[in-house]
């Protein structure tokens, strides 16, 4: 139920962001979702990538520091309150949300959110039991393979 997310450390210098994306492009790797968290001095680029092993190798070869983290993707009904329902469920169980971001692919009337939880296994199980659609790796792969923009 968990997905592998790739995080890259970037200094706040011109060209660093494009350099990382170009490295992935050269490796023939496609980014399915991303978010960029920044501070005054540095940023952390987080990405969902189908072929994450190849992505890690490509980024490290170009000198980037890379970390792979477990995240949970959830289909969120695309209506007001959709996201709040998910968040209230995990908060009631005392599970902390470290960060979250949306995924580019939208299906039917649902948007997909990626969450980093302190306890990804516990959170994923809790959400599924509460009736939310947790999107496993295989399903994300299927959606992104067939998506045509």
């Amino acid at each position: 139920m968990k997905l592998k997310q790739i995080s890259v450390f970037l200094e706040n210098r011109q060209g660093q962001l494009s350099h990382a994306c170009r490295a992935l492009a050269r490796a023939g790797v496609n980014i399915n979702a991303l978010s960029l968290a920044d501070t005054r001095q540095f940023g952390v680029l987080r990405m969902l990538i189908r072929d994450h092993d190849r992505a890690v190798i490509a980024l490290q070869a170009d000198g980037f520091v890379v970390r792979v983290t477990d995240v949970v993707a959830v289909d969120v009904p695309d209506r007001p309150g959709g996201l709040a329902d998910v968040l209230e469920t995990v908060e009631a169980a005392g599970i902390n949300v470290e960060y979250m971001y949306a995924v580019t692919h939208r299906t039917e009337e649902k948007g997909m959110m990626v969450f980093r939880f302190e306890d990804p296994d516990g959170a994923a199980a809790l959400l599924r039991d509460a009736g939310f659609d947790v999107v496993p790796d295989a399903e994300l792969a299927r959606r992104t393979d067939t998506a045509k923009d």
Partner: protein, 441 residues
């Protein structure tokens, strides 16, 4: 600038500055012989080294014989930490001070009551050298605490008879208020602090050049004539370079006089030699080399031929002020990797100790020194390693905070820590370029 200095005023303590050379040398020899005997009897490390060379205190029959005696180096103080070089017990010691060692442990120095009197005397003579007298109002912005600068200048200024304001370092706006409202006539601080203070005063619209402030007694870090002239113009004052080091006494080893040309060494207390740093040979007067100092009056911690790592030369011509004390050229550089930042001694190896304490291994790092509006700034750039790269921003920030705190606890200064990408810092085949100094001199 209000003229309150009296060119004909003369402090009795300065009499020792004008001893005829013959008398000075005789006094020095007499004191040297007593000092070597004391150190031989009471300091194990010194006695061992003398014994190894087959020397005894009786072998010092002339000042030239000093050249036969062993050197003392900073490492000796580190290895005998805390009290291994003391020549008497703590019951006779009335003061302890500390300064930076090369790693985590500081250098400890000690004073008996008589040593404190010597220190006071050297500082009175320093202030008199700078044209200060009992009528002055002296703002002491050297740091008070373990650092010898604050208390050294304080006791000397009080003994001079001046009115002393112990502002210590920091709180610049308040210092400017004191300077303006208390009629301060002289300030003691580091040259970079004075630059910072003048800058800030200009921002606040305080016309320092029109205040009674007429002299700045500047030390604890190297500075150039050019910087001095700039400070004099900005501040409407005269600048005086003073020199000292904790291992010898603190401030009070040497001082510029009103000629502002070279620093007179108070050599009846601290005997100077210039040596070739590689061979250890004493060099002829006028040649540049490493300054070596021997304390002639210290009881608690005699220092025989202490290698300062400061590079300078004697100015052999007599000074127009008439003092018979020999002058050394302004100290510009050192022969080791010590950095002086806002008057504080910092060794790159100390930064390494701090980084290792946090990360367990030594990451690639680089120290970059800059000067921002007069204040020295240090930035330690540390490469992020895979082990320490956390995906969470707050954990990275926490790491940055831990590194900053670790460095501060070792060197005593808060510096900036910047996390950088791996492979971005210079690597070299030989000694890594750990330090980039962009400060103008």
């Amino acid at each position: 600038m209000v003229q309150t200095d009296s060119p004909t005023s003369f402090h009795p303590a300065s009499a020792s500055d004008y001893l005829p050379e013959g008398k000075l040398r005789a006094l020095q020899l007499q004191r040297l012989q007593a000092m070597v005997a004391r150190a031989y009897e009471r300091v194990d490390l010194f006695r061992q080294r003398m014994d190894e060379r087959g020397l005894t205190p009786g072998d010092v029959a002339s000042l030239a014989d000093l050249a036969r005696l062993p050197f003392t180096v900073k490492n000796d103080l580190r290895e005998t930490y805390p009290f291994g070089l003391f020549a008497c017990g703590l019951e006779e010691i009335v003061r302890l001070h500390a300064s930076s060692g090369t790693t985590g442990k500081p250098i400890i120095v000690s004073y008996t009551a008589a040593d404190i009197e010597v220190w006071k005397d050297a500082m009175v003579r320093t202030f008199a050298c700078c044209g200060l007298h009992a009528g002055d109002i002296i703002q002491n912005s050297y740091g008070y605490g373990l650092f010898t600068g604050g208390l050294g200048a304080h006791y000397g200024a009080e003994a001079l008879g001046a009115t002393v304001i112990p502002t210590s370092g920091g709180q610049t706006d308040r210092q400017i208020m004191v300077m303006k409202d208390f009629g301060v006539t002289a300030i003691c601080c580091t040259p970079s602090y004075l630059a910072h203070l003048l800058d800030r005063a200009a921002e606040l619209g305080v016309p320092v050049a029109e205040l009674p402030l007429r002299a700045a007694v500047l030390g604890a870090e190297p500075w150039s004539d050019a910087m001095g002239r700039k400070l004099e113009t900005l501040g409407g004052l005269k600048t005086y370079d003073i020199y000292g080091l904790s291992e010898i006494i603190g401030p009070g080893v040497a001082s510029q006089c009103e000629a502002q040309d070279g620093l007179h060494v108070f050599e009846d207390y601290f005997y100077p030699e210039i040596i070739d740093p590689d061979t250890g040979e004493v060099l002829p007067d006028g040649e540049e080399g490493e300054l070596v100092l021997t304390t002639l009056s210290k009881q608690a911690m005699p220092m025989i031929r202490y290698r300062t790592r400061d590079v300078t030369a004697f100015l052999p011509e007599p000074c127009r002020c008439g003092r018979s004390l020999r002058r050394i050229r302004r100290i510009g550089r050192r022969s080791d990797d010590m950095i002086i930042l806002r008057g504080v001694n910092v060794f790159p190896s100390q930064v390494e100790t701090a980084l290792m304490a946090v990360e367990g291994t030594l990451p690639h790092y680089q120290i970059v020194l800059t000067r921002d509006r007069g204040l020295d700034q240090m930035e330690v750039q540390v490469e992020v390693t895979p082990e320490f790269f956390s995906d969470e921003i707050r954990k990275l920030e926490a790491l940055q905070g831990q590194l900053t705190a670790a460095i501060e606890s070792v060197i005593g200064l808060r510096v900036a820590v910047k996390l950088v990408e791996p492979q971005t810092l210079q690597r070299s085949t030989g000694k890594a370029t750990r330090l980039i100094d962009k400060r103008p001199s």
